[in-house]
């Protein structure tokens, strides 16, 4: 698959000496949803800001669909839409005026039909003549998305798009992001809500202390780094794990009434039958069992804490 964004050896050291980005290499494929995860100050916004032209990199190159962001900035930036983390708006302007401003700024003539479609998709059409200052926080967030879509970008950056947004609106935004992807727009989002990445992303990158720790297909990442837990609810509580089961790393929970086994997701299908047979041989009865897979959040926390 063709790449829409190629980042090579990108670094950023601020005048204060803070190294916000260690050499970063990243390829983003056309049409994918890529989630960039990382704790506060990890370098997510710096990375996005460099690609969008808001921060000057120290070293490295960035190509947007083959266009260098510095030498060929017009072509590169024309393809990019940015929804910033903060709600930066011109509060005295109307919704309609501000989306028209955004489209013009990116070098395009007026297109009433496109802007109407964008505003309708974001449930802002009825507010088109309202001043921005009268909009709620959620509407302002959607307006920033409308502004970013006004010039029909091929690569959309969403920097913490659902920060401070209620659950219903968050679901609506996820839906909208999927629709954009269906229209062929590549989406890069940063988020604190790992649930968001888990729900939407095709691939996930984890950044910490300015270093891109890993980039992986979401499904493969969850399989590779995810843990599974099998819990057996016992008929009779046990005082301790029988010595015959020592090698399995089992743990007793809930005052001995639950026996818990943690294993790698890749081992699925091979170990469980063996364990259950062994437990049966020892005469340990259980009346129920369940399995649980670790969330992306747990994988993320493991990854980041392992690097500390």
């Amino acid at each position: 698959m063709q790449n829409i964004l190629s980042i090579s050896s990108l670094t950023k050291t601020y005048a204060s000496g803070l190294q916000a980005l260690k050499p970063v290499d990243l390829e983003i494929r056309k049409g994918e949803i890529f989630a960039l995860l990382g704790p506060n100050g990890a370098g997510k916004t710096t990375l996005i800001s460099i690609v969008c032209g808001l921060v000057t990199p120290s070293t490295g190159t960035v190509l947007v669909d083959g266009h260098d962001i510095r030498r060929d900035f017009r072509a590169a930036r024309a393809m990019i839409g940015l929804v910033p983390q903060e709600l930066h708006t011109d509060m005295f302007e109307t919704v309609w005026a501000t989306v028209n401003f955004s489209r013009g700024l990116f070098g395009l003539g007026r297109d009433h039909a496109h802007l109407e479609r964008v505003l309708r998709d974001l449930s802002l059409w009825d507010k088109r003549n309202d001043k921005i200052m009268t909009l709620s926080g959620g509407m302002k967030r959607r307006l920033l998305i409308a502004k970013a879509l006004a010039h029909e970008p091929r690569l959309l950056f969403l920097d913490e798009p659902t920060a401070g947004v209620d659950v219903e609106l968050r679901r609506d935004m996820w839906e909208m992001v999927r629709r954009l992807r269906d229209d062929g727009v590549t989406i890069i989002l940063t988020t604190h809500y790992i649930e968001e990445a888990e729900e939407m992303a095709d691939r996930i990158g984890v950044i910490n202390n300015g270093e891109l720790i890993l980039v992986e297909e979401k499904a493969r990442l969850m399989k590779k780094l995810g843990k599974k837990q099998l819990t057996l609810h016992l008929h009779e509580p046990l005082v301790s794990v029988p010595p015959e089961l020592d090698g399995w790393g089992l743990a007793l929970k809930n005052e001995g009434s639950e026996l818990e086994y943690t294993f790698n997701a890749t081992e699925e299908g091979t170990v469980i039958p063996k364990l259950l047979k062994r437990i049966g041989d020892l005469g340990i009865d259980f009346h129920d069992l369940n399995t649980r897979q670790s969330s992306l959040e747990e994988i993320f926390v493991d990854l980041v804490s392992a690097r500390k």
Binding site: V55, R77, H88, L108, R154
Partner: protein, 262 residues
């Protein structure tokens, strides 16, 4: 969805977007924008031109009331150019909306053209309104109307560029008024707005020649009445030097990203 039209070498839509956005702000506040300088000018004309000027006789062959009109227009143009242009770029910096301009496919030249062009348009409109207002109080015959307009445009653009620099440099709104109030206004009062520097004793006259505003007022007055404290060529040259200086600073700002980019 894609706007796949080939990219022009000059982003005229981008420049117009910034220009119209800024002019929209001017329209929204048109009464405040016009009322203050017009009332100030009328007060100056009533107090200095009519009340005191009646006892002053003629200066350089024109009535005192008419003599001070170019200086009054210049005073308004210089302060308003600095204020408007500095506010225009400082506001998006302050609110954070500058991100959109900096991430758009607009060059530094186009950004400056949009912001400074709009601020200069406002200044010229103000100057013309003040000129029309002054005509109600005193008779003014402009000797070189083309050069008056040309000088007006040159000074408006130059000082709006200076205002743009102040707007980028300022870290807070109160700093925007620092240069117009504490530098330009005193220098304008001391730069021959209300008198000819030829009326000053030798030492003070020589000292006045170090005041750059003298050259602007003198040149502008020449376009009205054909008389000047310094020759028109020197006035134009000094204005162009200041323009070149401002262009150099703006070029450096965008090259380094000074207080615009991290």
């Amino acid at each position: 969805m894609n706007a796949s039209a080939p990219l022009p070498r000059f982003n005229r839509h981008g420049v117009m977007a910034i220009y119209l956005f800024e002019m929209g702000r001017f329209r929204r506040t048109i009464w405040q924008s016009l009322a203050t300088p017009v009332i100030t000018t009328v007060l100056f004309l009533v107090v200095f031109g009519t009340a005191i000027g009646g006892r002053m006789g003629q200066l350089d062959g024109v009535s005192y009331g008419a003599f001070i009109v170019p200086g009054l227009i210049m005073l308004t143009m210089l302060t308003e150019s600095l204020s408007n242009a500095s506010f225009g770029i400082h506001l998006p910096k302050f609110t954070g909306t500058i991100y959109e301009v900096l991430s758009a496919p607009v060059s530094a030249f186009e950004i400056v053209l949009g912001y400074v062009g709009a601020a200069a348009t406002k200044s010229v409109i103000l100057a013309l309104v003040i000129f029309a207002t002054a005509n109600i109080f005193v008779d003014i015959d402009v000797l070189h109307p083309f050069w008056m307009l040309a000088f007006m445009l040159l000074i408006a653009f130059t000082f709006c560029l200076a205002g743009f620099i102040i707007g980028v440099w300022a870290k807070a709104f109160d700093q925007l008024q620092f240069v117009p109030m504490l530098v330009v206004t005193p220098l304008t009062f001391l730069g021959g707005a209300f008198y000819s520097i030829d009326m000053l004793p030798g030492f003070w006259r020589t000292l006045s020649l170090f005041n750059p505003i003298v050259y602007l007022i003198s040149g502008f007055r020449w376009t009205f009445y054909g008389t000047a404290d310094v020759t028109i060529g020197v006035s134009v040259a000094m204005t162009l030097v200041f323009l070149a200086l401002c262009l150099g600073v703006v070029w450096w700002i965008f090259r380094t990203g000074y207080r615009l980019k991290s």
